[in-house]
């Protein structure tokens, strides 16, 4: 009798502890928002919101400081946009190949390769880019420097492939086999089936993969920091050095006096990044949910 009571009390405690563990993720997210807000907001004592987001000049240490992050917003946009031109075709192509075309024996090695690609640390990509891609691009395209937006885009594109591919693969796998069989039975080839049945059915998942790949590219720091040249030019040009939002934080945080407008500005840059990836993620999830309901 007593042990039954004890096990019931234990049961309650366990449920409570596990629930608390689940709450930690929410708490962490809440704390991130709170601290980005708390440390980022004071920048608006120095500069207006419009002046911050739309300002053309970033001279954080001059007196008075110019704290405009437009060059970095456009820089991140440029690098991310071109990275997607690499990541989306390669990622979706790989997912379709692995899921629909490749013989069963090649499937697992390919999946492992994609997972390994996801595992390469970003600093190693950055180092590889700095040592190999930068000099190669400089020589090939005859540029004054190889540290350009293009270099960063190429590397980021490759880095985002696993994100796009894994979500696209799930989307394609969620399309019921009966749909494929019906199409083949009507005399369509495998390619016609893939193009006119599987891809349209999976398109919201493919879009979700693209959005999350975009989030991955925008948030990437070390690779961009090492290969993009880091000069905040306006407007940013593909064949020239650029500065991204992430690289700005990484470059300048260590040398900034705590509590200075510069310090707060860097946290506000973090807030901009956070809001942007949050939006992408929420939209991606809303879009991605559609396919789960369909399957």
């Amino acid at each position: 009798m007593r042990s039954e009571v004890r096990s019931r009390i234990g049961e309650h405690t366990v449920r409570w502890i596990m629930g608390a563990c689940a709450g930690v993720s929410l708490l962490a997210l809440g704390l991130i928002v709170l601290f980005l807000f708390r440390e980022g907001m004071p920048v608006f004592r120095t500069v207006s919101l419009g002046g911050f987001l739309g300002g053309r000049f970033w001279f954080p240490t001059s007196e008075p400081p110019s704290l405009g992050i437009l060059p970095m917003i456009l820089g991140s946009g440029l690098v991310t946009g071109f990275a997607l031109l690499v990541a989306v075709p390669l990622g979706i192509g790989t997912a379709l190949f692995v899921g629909e075309v490749a013989p069963a024996s090649a499937r697992n090695p390919l999946k492992v390769a994609v997972e390994m690609l996801a595992g390469v640390p970003s600093v190693v990509y950055g180092f590889f880019g700095l040592m190999i891609v930068v000099p190669w691009l400089q020589a090939t395209l005859n540029l004054p420097t190889g540290q350009t937006a293009l270099t960063a885009s190429l590397l980021l594109g490759i880095m985002a492939v696993p994100t796009v591919a894994s979500i696209a693969e799930d989307a394609v796998a969620a399309v019921p086999d009966t749909w494929r069989e019906a199409s083949l039975a009507l005399g369509a080839t495998r390619w016609q089936t893939l193009r006119s049945v599987v891809v349209p059915a999976a398109r919201s998942g493919l879009l979700a993969g693209t959005l999350l790949g975009m989030g991955r590219a925008v948030g990437e720091t070390m690779t961009v920091l090492m290969v993009s040249g880091n000069s905040p030019t306006l407007p940013p040009v593909l064949g020239w050095p650029v500065r991204t939002l992430t690289a700005t934080i990484a470059l300048e945080m260590a040398e900034t006096p705590v509590g200075s407008p510069h310090y707060h500005a860097l946290f506000a840059v973090g807030g901009v990044l956070f809001l942007f990836t949050l939006t992408l993620n929420v939209v991606g999830e809303l879009v991605g949910n559609r396919i789960r309901r369909l399957a």
Binding site: M18, C21, V120, F128, T221, M222
Partner: protein, 283 residues
């Protein structure tokens, strides 16, 4: 005929994109291995950097990364597994599960540099832990938690419902059923998730830049409140900021090879193990 050729062309293009992914991995691995291998020696792995980091080894960075990863696992594994057990085995209210899941997914999407900023503001400054192993491990721990929750949940969901029902029918409480029936079956799946988390934590630079990593420390850390050298940060500063960085390229390639090797071995181990678990389902 036309149909046959358009299929051939299309499939060839798809195959080409898969090949490009394979090639990218091979090229990165190949270059780092070929140029890094000559630098690897027992001395490189076991010695301190010397002469302003232009000679010597990477031992403190290797050990620092080990400490950081160990701390990350201690922080995140119980929390992540607990959260997943709650989501998979306990939570009944669908709306609450959804809220938690949205939180987890959004935490997973936070850029690593933002984790770095948060770690600086919260652990380093607000909690006063300073730039330390502890601050770095806590920051990395929060970062890898979504990964652990997802993989643990997947492992728990793969355990057939009949296992739980059998235990409950024999009079076990829910926790007894989870602890002695469900968890033992799910352990391999949970561990592969943990290995991936270790790989991820070991390779990250941005979250530890402001929270744990030091350019150079003359001695090994003695407590969790000491700052440390870490492999990824060491590679970054050696390649970009150290004195005479153009003369130490061989050391940098060696460091890159050690880091890449460590992380990829972990990822490969997890991938192979997971494939084996999936194949070996006996029920």
């Amino acid at each position: 005929m036309n149909r046959v050729w358009s299929q051939r062309t299309a499939f060839a293009l798809l195959g080409l994109s898969a090949l490009a992914v394979f090639a990218a991995l091979a090229v990165v691995l190949g270059f780092v291995t070929v140029r890094g291998a000559p630098a690897i020696s027992w001395e490189f792995l076991s010695a301190f950097p010397r002469r302003g980091m232009t000679e010597g080894g990477i031992f403190p960075a290797l050990l620092g990364t080990f400490y950081l990863v160990l701390g990350t696992v201690i922080v995140s594994l119980p929390l992540g597994v607990g959260a997943a057990i709650y989501l998979a085995e306990y939570a009944e209210q669908r709306s609450w599960i959804r809220v938690v899941r949205i939180g987890v997914n959004n935490l997973a999407a936070v850029p690593s540099i933002v984790f770095g900023l948060f770690g600086l503001a919260f652990f380093v400054k607000a909690l006063g832990l300073g730039v330390s192993i502890l601050s770095g491990a806590l920051t990395l721990g929060l970062m890898v938690m979504p990964l652990l929750i997802r993989s643990t949940e997947e492992a728990l969901n793969a355990v057939p419902k009949e296992f739980r029902e059998g235990a409950l029918a024999l009079g076990a409480t829910r926790w007894q059923a989870v602890r002695s029936v469900v968890l033992p079956v799910a352990v391999p799946g949970i561990l592969t998730g943990a290995i991936l988390a270790v790989g991820r934590a070991a390779g990250e630079t941005a979250p530890i830049m402001f929270t744990a990593a030091a350019f150079y420390t003359p001695r090994l850390p003695r407590s969790p409140l000491d700052e440390v050298m870490a492999l990824p940060y060491h590679l970054y500063v050696m390649a970009t900021e150290s004195t005479a960085f153009w003369r130490t390229r061989h050391l940098q390639f060696g460091t890159a090879l050690v880091l890449l090797g460590l992380v990829l071995i972990l990822y490969l181990w997890a991938a192979v193990w997971r494939a084996r678990i999936r194949r070996r389902k006996r029920w």
